[in-house]
Amino acid sequence: MKTWIKTLTVLLALTGGLAVVQPVAAQQAGTQFMGILGYRVGPYGANGAAFFTGMIDYLNLVNEKDGGINGVKLSWEECETEYNNAKGVECYERLKTRTTTGPTAIHPMSTGITYGLIDKAPVDKIPLITLGYGRTDATDGRVFPWVFPILSNYWDGATGIVKFIGDQEKGSLKGKKIVLLYHDSAYGKEPQPVLEAEATKLGFELKMIPVPHPGNEQQSQWLQIRQYKPDWVILWGWGVMSATALSTAQKVGYPRDKMVGIWWAGSEIDTQAAGPAAEGYYAASLNLAGKDFQVVRDVEKFVYAKGKGGDPKLVGTVLWNRGLAAAMITVEAVRTAQGKYGKKPVTGEQTRWGIENLNIDQKRLDQLGFGSMVPPLKLSCADHSGSGLVRFQKWEGAKWNAASDWMSGDRALIRKMVEESAGKYAKEKNITPGCMKG
């Protein structure tokens, strides 16, 4: 009898579990609904939490301070992807049908999920915004009309770092030795073709040293580096790898002020974990850190003071600020689209037009309170990336300080390589490159 009851309970629980009910749509009618594919658990949960908190804080700010975009209130739903591709696609499919206007624009915040969605976006007419990651060749909007690698792509980052190093070396890199210490994955391989091209062009010697995932043991790599005696080390790290690189560099006595990281290796999470070893380390950045911006003060006043904020500890960190910028770009794209299609919730297709015709100049940035946190941004059909500007920050032991002005890498070289790569993709997929109308 007892086992009988047990079996029954188990079966009941099981059927309950299998009957995945289609969730009742929340009260989102008449609002601009934003689908957010977030992650706050898993190996990159700390990074995700900072970014998505910033994003939601900004959406709250728009609602609280301006009453929405031209009177259209914002609503949103976050779905946990755990940085897992399959779950990311599930979340995307779920949020896509939530309202008639769709999820506005998706920030996948994961290169893997981006790849999973690239083929779905044109079919569903939902734009993807990949802010500083993802497919570099998607910069060519004639082949990838629905993908926007906004601000800067990895090749902008790589050539920007080379330029920054060149500036530190008084202009010439001839005969210098540079090491690329990279995360051995698709992400770490992304800058290699453009760095090789730069090495031939500028006459420096490039050595590429892979670090296997997750990168918490780098003794042998740093011994190699010590033998090779490079003038500079470019750190293409992610997660625990970046902090380990900094502390191992200290152990083998490599100067940290000769190390430059890409933006994903340049958050407080990385440098604080490395402690004093991180002092003097440079990192490229898409956005400045800190609270000294009007928009951050506004968030504190309109969102946190009303108890609607996410987490006060994250305010002003690199990734939180990046989340603000990401949300701002979507909001401004919606505003641009409203200018053409009317002051009501816009669809994904209309948002796509809005992103492609986005023009956020310095004046507009000042109005929005962003000031110098991000560079001005202007997109077009041929250029889905925008400024391509990066700015370098130096870790001074307690916080990031700007170490350069906004600067761009070798844009002509990148453009040529982007078009080659996008052309190959178009051929593989039988796409006729062209601009979309309307």
Binding site: A19, E90, G112, Y115
Partner: protein, 358 residues
């Protein structure tokens, strides 16, 4: 009462050896297939088809592959995702480099390539057993994605080693809508599951089970260990390879080698363990549990959060979802260590006697 086979007489060997000897099972299976082939495509929304049913079927196939190796032949493997990667990349290259290649043939060739790689990594199984073999297959898990990223040829020199699946077209018919993709995946999975069910009842399958239960005894009665273990690796990797190809072609569209990581291998292993080691149906039940349960929990928790105004942050719901999921796995394994398939079997026995158990 509902499940009594009294009065069902078997008058031939064929009837006695049928796949589903009980009439109720046969009808049940027909109804299930009718629902899967006709009912679901008509009723299910695109969300259900693309986000739930297709991945469920793909993971079922992968779990089935692993179950053949681990459940039937007793060889523990942690390289499932790597074999899936081989299938996906091989299919991509056959499609890319051979003009006019029919996609179904590419799937089969992708599966065969995975089988070849599987045999290669199965060779150590002749000397090492149990956890040590798991470590050897772990080598495959790390080596294969690394190789695919390292050698540009595999991904047609894409900058980051990502492959993009070509559109599927069979006999001039494009499989581009969720419904068509679902039907394609369903058809392949049904055929392969039927094949597996028959395979494990055949001489080969019995040899696998003999080796699993005691390899010395199996050798003594004349089963060739080398061949048996390697066929298990080959067949298992074939299934995983086809699953990987479907994962890329029918589900995600573009895949990066990093997507086929150890995490995915573990997920598939958990499907086998939760579903039932050494059971074809267990693979399906396990895949359903592992893929659907987190989605159900997340939806339920989010709804509860809004309905009862709990005001939990998104971080809290994500964490509690993991907690509940982990707890459920432990609960099921304590209640029935042999997995969900065994639970189903017990339920059938109860139903046979119900309502007069004694």
């Amino acid at each position: 009462m509902f499940y009594r086979e009294a009065g069902q007489f078997k008058t031939s060997y064929a009837a006695d050896q049928a796949l589903l000897p009980i009439r109720q099972d046969r009808y049940g299976m027909f109804i299930l297939l009718a629902i899967a082939f006709v009912g679901l495509p008509l009723l299910a929304s695109d969300y259900w088809l693309t986000a739930i049913l297709i991945p469920f079927l793909v993971f079922s196939l992968a779990a089935l592959g692993l179950n053949i190796l681990t459940g039937y032949a007793g060889q523990l493997s942690l390289g499932t995702a790597a074999f899936m990667a081989v299938g996906a990349v091989a299919t991509y290259n056959f499609e890319l480099r051979v003009p006019g290649m029919p996609v179904l043939i590419s799937f089969i060739l992708g599966g065969l390539s995975a089988a070849a790689v599987g045999v290669l990594f199965g060779l150590p199984s002749l000397r090492i057993k149990g956890f040590y073999l798991a470590v050897a297959t772990l080598a495959a898990q790390f080596f294969i994605p690394w190789l695919i990223t390292k050698v540009g040829w595999f991904s047609n020199y894409s900058a980051s080693g990502v492959i993009t699946a070509q559109p599927i077209e069979i006999l001039g018919m494009p499989f581009d809508t969720p419904m068509r993709k679902y039907l394609l995946v369903l058809a392949i999975v049904v055929v392969l599951a039927l094949l597996a069910k028959n395979l494990v009842r055949s001489r080969i399958g019995r040899a696998w089970m003999a080796v699993r239960d005691m390899d010395v005894a199996a050798e003594v009665i004349g089963i060739r260990i080398l061949r048996t273990k390697l066929t298990a690796f080959a067949v298992s990797s074939f299934y995983c390879g086809v699953a990987g190809a479907l994962y890329a072609y029918a589900y995600l569209g573009s895949v990066e080698p990093d997507g086929f990581n150890l995490d995915l291998s573990f997920r598939i292993l958990f499907m086998v363990i939760v579903g039932g080691v050494g059971s074809i149906m267990g693979s399906f039940l396990g895949a359903a549990f592992i893929t659907l349960m987190p989605i159900f929990l997340e939806v339920a928790l989010t709804e509860a959060n809004t309905a009862f105004n709990l005001n939990l942050g998104p971080g809290v719901t994500s964490m509690s979802q993991l907690l509940v999921f982990g707890g459920l796995i432990i609960f099921f394994l304590i209640v029935e260590p042999h997995g969900l398939a065994r639970l189903w079997q017990i339920a059938k026995e109860k139903l046979r006697l119900w309502p007069f158990p004694h």
